[in-house]
């Protein structure tokens, strides 16, 4: 951020940081920044008569560690001029003063950015805290139920399966089980899976039961929707044989669930679009599935019963997404914002998503074009994003999330949903500062 | 109490060092036997092989009338005192002495009584509660002896038990030890590299060199008639003069002097043959004036031996030593003559005593 201090009078030096690195984690994103954004942006600025030098600061670590490093940097007035962060961190960063409203940092340019018009409200919400925009959304995602068509066929289930209620999922699971599928249903649970349990497990279920983590400034405790969600876990892991309780405890359980899904051992799996893009991808996935396009089906996550989901929905999902922020300490906030915006320009996004690196960008105009060849992402963009929900972007969320994971773990290891919900409420009160902030 | 017999005992260390080379030795019951030899000659190895701490490569060890070659050390019924005494530093004197009994599962009261008894015999009554670290060297040595005595073993093995003591204590200890062995009558093998110790204490002794025994005999035999130049050079508080000479008729020519043929070799030498003439400094009679048949030269060193002096003469470039009683010692540079006693001088041919 302060790097410009040392630069010669008219050269503006900018840095951009992401949790991505060439040859490692999110390599494609890193390549995009270094090979396209930086040269193009410098050229564009040159054309405007400004000499700008951009440096990319790569990283390739756990999100927690990236967050720690980012926080420490920002706290001490350092850090890159432009940096990425998980949308869920917006609130806590804002409260800590690590992030400031864009219009305060950059000025009117921020509000006048032409991209806003292309970004759906729900996605804009990711970057919004207390009604003000703190960053640019980088994209979004969504969760669906994947299923293995080969196994479904064996079990006599349709290839265009779309359950309407939780019971239908369980019924399908029974049939799969009867057909000898080792793991009929995998819904992430337990602490070992970490946030995957929350986002690909308990939160979609909670939403499906009509519950929300936080409502009107109060946290939801041992409410009926939570008990229902935990009850669903019990039906899968509590001796029915529909799920594999041990897998939920393994430190590398999620990896293994991917391997097993790719290896035709799991019938139904609740996951995000990342499974399709990054895991099963026949070319670049970590658990490649050569016949992904033929044998993997997907369906919306149903509410517990039709109309019982949040806002009376029949189907639900959860979404997250990254943000690209301008460092409040930046010496050149305007140029930094320009850089951030440049990375999210239509041309840029198209460039970034070339060569199979397709993801759901924040811009509808771009999505239309790039997703056309990707049925799943189109499906998510069209069908899921409109009905999806987001996590509360507040500091306490991380701990609440852990408490939720622990609640599912308790159910998997044999406690009743009521008991687990009560334990959750007790922990919640500890986290959010007393029973006054909790509604049950 | 039993005799010890070694038959063709051989010990080769891993690495190829042949420390004992087919060695035969018989030590009768009750004898105090000293093993003497330069460093590295195999004394310790011999002792340790008897004890079973090293396994013999070949040959047999017989104690009493048991062949113990294959037995564990603990089963051989022998006791050993190590050079450093090997007292356990964390046990007091009583416990140290009683340790072998504890291993033999003797009851606590019984073994403490035995320890007290043996300790008293060695004058340790006042020290029974101390730890080894609080004892002087001589006291430690007595504790080590007491521990050995408490075992009532068939034989005692001592590996240089006195060499850690200072010179004065050593003298006392050797008198003490000798007396004790005499009283107990236990067969004892005593290793030392101090020839004075061996001479003073042993009933019989053996001189070893690189895994072989070079001479066995009583101290007087070994001192007066060393069987070969090796033993001759090794035994004696001052080394024997070993001078190269040639037989010239009935006389000998030794470094330019004419000497008489010693009594023991009379008639056994051939004219012109090369021999080594050996005479101990104690048997060289010194005089300030020329004497027939003596070795004459200039005094180069005079060392005080207490009641006598060791005078080194430079006889035509060869050093010859003689012991001179006090009051008669010369000054450095004086002329002097050493007359060997014919009854004590010896002749070595090819390193072996004549007659063998």
């Amino acid at each position: 951020g302060q790097s410009s201090d040392g630069g010669s009078g008219d050269t503006i030096e900018l840095t951009i940081a992401q949790n991505s690195i060439a040859g490692g984690k999110n390599a494609a994103a890193a390549d995009y920044i270094t090979n396209w954004v930086i040269p193009k942006f410098e050229a564009a600025e040159k054309a405007k008569g400004k000499t700008v030098k951009v440096k990319f600061v790569p990283s390739g670590v756990d999100d927690e560690q990236y967050k720690t490093k980012l926080s420490l940097d920002l706290k001490s007035g350092k850090g890159a001029d432009v940096f990425d962060l998980d949308g869920i961190w917006a609130g806590e960063f804002a409260e800590a003063g690590y992030l400031k409203p864009l219009s305060d940092v950059v000025g009117a340019d921020a509000d006048n950015w032409d991209g806003w018009a292309q970004i759906p409200q729900s996605v804009q919400g990711l970057a919004t805290y207390n009604g003000r925009k703190y960053a640019l959304p980088v994209g979004t995602d969504g969760r669906v139920l994947y299923f293995n068509k080969t196994l479904f066929q064996k079990a006599g289930l349709p290839a265009d399966w779309q359950p309407k209620s939780w019971q239908e999922i369980l019924d399908a699971g029974d049939k799969l089980k009867a057909a000898g599928v080792p793991v009929p249903i995998q819904i992430n649970a337990g602490t070992a899976m970490g946030e995957a349990t929350t986002m690909q497990g308990v939160l979609p279920l909670l939403a499906g039961a009509g519950g929300q983590l936080q409502q009107d400034g109060k946290w939801t405790g041992a409410s009926q929707p939570l008990k229902d969600a935990l009850g669903f876990y019990e039906k899968i892991y509590g001796g029915s044989g529909l799920g594999d309780p041990k897998l939920q405890q393994e430190a590398k359980g999620r990896d293994k669930s991917f391997q097993q899904f790719a290896g035709n051992e799991i019938g139904i799996l609740l996951e995000s679009d990342y499974l399709w893009r990054g895991v099963l991808n026949p070319e670049t996935g970590v658990a490649k599935m050569a016949d992904r396009d033929q044998s993997v089906g997907y369906a919306l996550i149903p509410a517990e019963e039709p109309g019982k989901g949040i806002n009376g929905q029949d189907f639900v999902s959860m979404s997250g997404g990254a943000l690209r922020a301008v460092n409040p300490n930046s010496a050149h906030p305007k140029e930094a914002f320009e850089l951030a915006a440049f990375t999210l320009s239509p041309d840029g996004l198209k460039e970034e998503t070339k060569n199979g690196n397709v993801r759901i960008t924040p811009r509808t105009d771009v999505n239309k074009e790039i997703l056309s060849a990707e049925p799943l992402l189109t499906y998510i963009s069209d069908k899921v994003v409109p009905l999806t929900a987001f996590r509360p972007p507040v500091a306490a969320y991380t701990q609440v999330s852990v408490a939720l994971q622990e609640a599912t773990a308790e159910v998997v290891s044999g406690k009743t949903p009521d008991q687990a919900a009560a334990d959750y409420q007790a922990k919640l009160e500890g986290i959010v500062g007393g029973a006054g902030n909790v509604a049950s | 109490m039993s005799a010890i017999e070694l038959r063709g005992l051989t010990k080769v260390y891993p690495g190829g060092v042949k420390a004992l080379d087919s060695l035969d030795l018989a030590i009768p019951d009750g004898e105090f036997f000293a093993l003497l030899g330069p460093s590295g000659c195999g004394k310790t190895t011999l002792l340790r092989t008897i004890a079973g701490l090293e396994t013999a490569t070949g040959g047999a060890v017989v104690i009493g009338d048991r062949d113990v070659t294959g037995l564990q050390p603990g089963a051989r019924d022998i006791a050993m005192v190590f050079q450093d005494y090997a007292l356990f530093p964390h046990m007091n004197v009583t416990d140290n002495i009683a340790y072998p009994l504890r291993i033999k599962k003797v009851g606590k009261a019984a073994r403490q009584q035995k320890a007290a008894e043996v300790g008293a015999r060695l004058g340790l009554e006042q020290l029974m509660d101390r730890r080894p670290g609080q004892l002087s060297g001589g006291q430690q040595q007595r504790v080590a002896l007491a521990r050995v005595m408490a075992t009532q073993a068939q034989a005692f093995l001592f590996d240089e038990p006195l060499s850690n003591l200072d010179a004065r204590l050593r003298l006392e200890a050797r008198t003490f030890l000798k007396k004790l062995q005499h009283e107990l009558g236990v067969t004892t093998v005593f290793v030392t590299h101090d020839q004075a110790e061996a001479l003073a204490m042993a009933d019989r002794m053996a001189v070893m060199e690189s895994g072989h025994i070079r001479q066995i005999g009583t101290p007087a035999e070994v001192f007066q008639r060393p069987a070969n130049t090796f033993v001759a050079g090794f035994i004696g508080s001052t080394p024997m003069n070993l001078l190269d000479g040639v037989v010239r008729g009935d006389t000998l020519e030794v470094s330019g002097c004419k000497l008489a043929v010693p009594q023991s070799a009379e008639g056994l030498l051939h004219d012109g043959e090369k021999i080594v003439y050996g005479v101990r400094p104690e048997y060289n009679v010194y005089s300030a004036g020329p004497v027939d048949g003596s070795l004459g030269g200039n005094v180069s060193i005079v060392e005080n031996l207490g009641a006598s002096y060791l005078v080194t003469l430079d006889v035509n470039g060869v050093l010859v030593q003689a012991v001179v009683p006090e009051g008669h010692e010369p000054l450095i540079g004086d002329e002097g003559y050493a007359l060997p006693r014919r009854d004590r001088a010896l002749i070595y041919r090819d390193g072996e005593l004549v007659p063998a």
């Binding site: 927690e64 560690q65 967050k67 720690t68 926080s71 420490l72 706290k75 961190w89 609130g91 806590e92 960063f93 409260e95 800590a96 003063g97 690590y98 337990g190 602490t191 070992a192 970490g194 041990k246 939920q248 405890q249 393994e250 430190a251 590398k252 293994k256 500091a395 306490a396 991380t398 701990q399 852990v402 622990e406 773990a409 290891s413 | 460093s39 340790r48 004890a51 701490l53 564990q72 050390p73 603990g74 089963a75 006791a79 050993m80 190590f82 050079q83 450093d84 090997a86 356990f88 530093p89 964390h90 340790y99 072998p100 291993i103 033999k104 521990r147 075992t151 060499s163 850690n164 590299h193």
Partner: protein, 308 residues
């Protein structure tokens, strides 16, 4: 070497005790100068931050959120919170199991066993055994954790392959035992080397006198070896207990799970401070760990001084 009338250790020992004074004529001043660089680095990069941690433990400092911008002193609230938190006690208990199992029993016993059976051996066997043991010690933990996941994996793990067993999941069914065995494997080298040196200092004649008296192997250990190496045992215990107490590597194997069954204190602090962002509370827990370490150290030192 030629004859030495005194065996070297007797001589060394006596000398060391008697002339422990300033052999090189250093003098206090120069001794100070020799210690200074180390002390400077230690003060700056260890004592100062460590005190800072103690101070942080008294605040509600967080990585993010409002408390990051303006941390407030909360007195001993963090400590009260820790001491009333069952998870903390759970972690403490697990840590004791971990330290007792893997350090005090595992590493010490295995390290001693290795040193003992290798004590008067030379040649390739010794080199191979020692090399492998030390390899386990020096490999980076990031790599080692993979090795053990591969070993203990529920489906394809080498252990399952070797035992021809199905679905045997040590990390899930016996998580604590797994990390104890793991840490024993990982750390035995240090104890082995230390005891190797210690055993070299046991005078052979003491062992042999015991053998001559007919003592069995165990009796020799009890009566001769242990009394001799007590000091080494305690140094070793102190160091490896401290290290194991603060060892974070189990996290790489089990991530504290399943269900917190292996969430030892070091992992607990990691989760509290890094994943939960509660730096003040994390610092307080660290302080408590420090105090526990202190108690352990004092306990060992007492033990060392007692029978002297």
């Amino acid at each position: 070497m030629a004859q030495a009338t005194l065996p070297p250790e007797v001589l060394d020992d006596a000398k060391a005790r008697r002339y422990s004074a300033d052999a090189a004529g250093l003098g206090r001043l120069r001794a100070g100068a020799f210690v200074a660089p180390a002390l400077a680095l230690i003060s700056l990069f260890l004592v100062f931050p460590a005190l800072w941690v103690l101070y942080l433990g008294l605040s509600n400092y967080r990585l993010t959120g409002a408390a990051a911008a303006a941390p407030q002193s909360v007195g001993f609230d963090n400590f009260v919170k820790a001491l009333t938190d069952p998870e903390f006690w759970n972690s403490t208990w697990l840590t004791f199991e971990f330290v007792l199992g893997s350090a005090v029993i595992g590493q010490v016993v295995l390290g001693f066993l290795l040193a003992w059976i290798m004590r008067d051996r030379t040649g390739p066997l010794k080199r191979i055994v020692e090399g492998l043991v030390i390899l386990a010690w020096i490999l980076p933990s990031a790599v080692v954790s993979f090795l053990w996941v591969a070993l203990l994996d529920r489906d394809d793990g080498t252990l399952n392959t070797l035992l021809h067993s199905q679905d045997f999941a040590p990390l899930l069914d016996h998580p604590m035992l797994s990390i104890i065995v793991f840490n024993t494997w990982r750390g035995a080298a240090f104890s082995m080397m230390l005891y190797g040196a210690a055993l070299g200092n046991v005078p052979p004649s003491h062992l042999e006198s015991a053998r001559l008296a007919g003592a069995s192997g165990w009796q020799q250990l009890r009566d001769v070896v242990f009394p001799h190496i007590r000091g080494h045992v305690l140094t070793n215990l102190l160091l490896i207990s401290l290290w194991t107490f603060n060892d974070f590597t189990p996290f790489l194997l089990t991530a504290g799970g399943p269900d917190g069954k292996t969430e030892v204190l070091a992992v607990h602090v990691y989760q509290v401070a890094l994943q939960g962002g509660e730096l003040g509370y994390g610092a307080a827990v660290s302080t408590v760990i420090l105090l526990i370490n202190l108690v352990v150290a004092v306990f060992y030192l007492r033990l060392l001084r007692s029978k002297k």
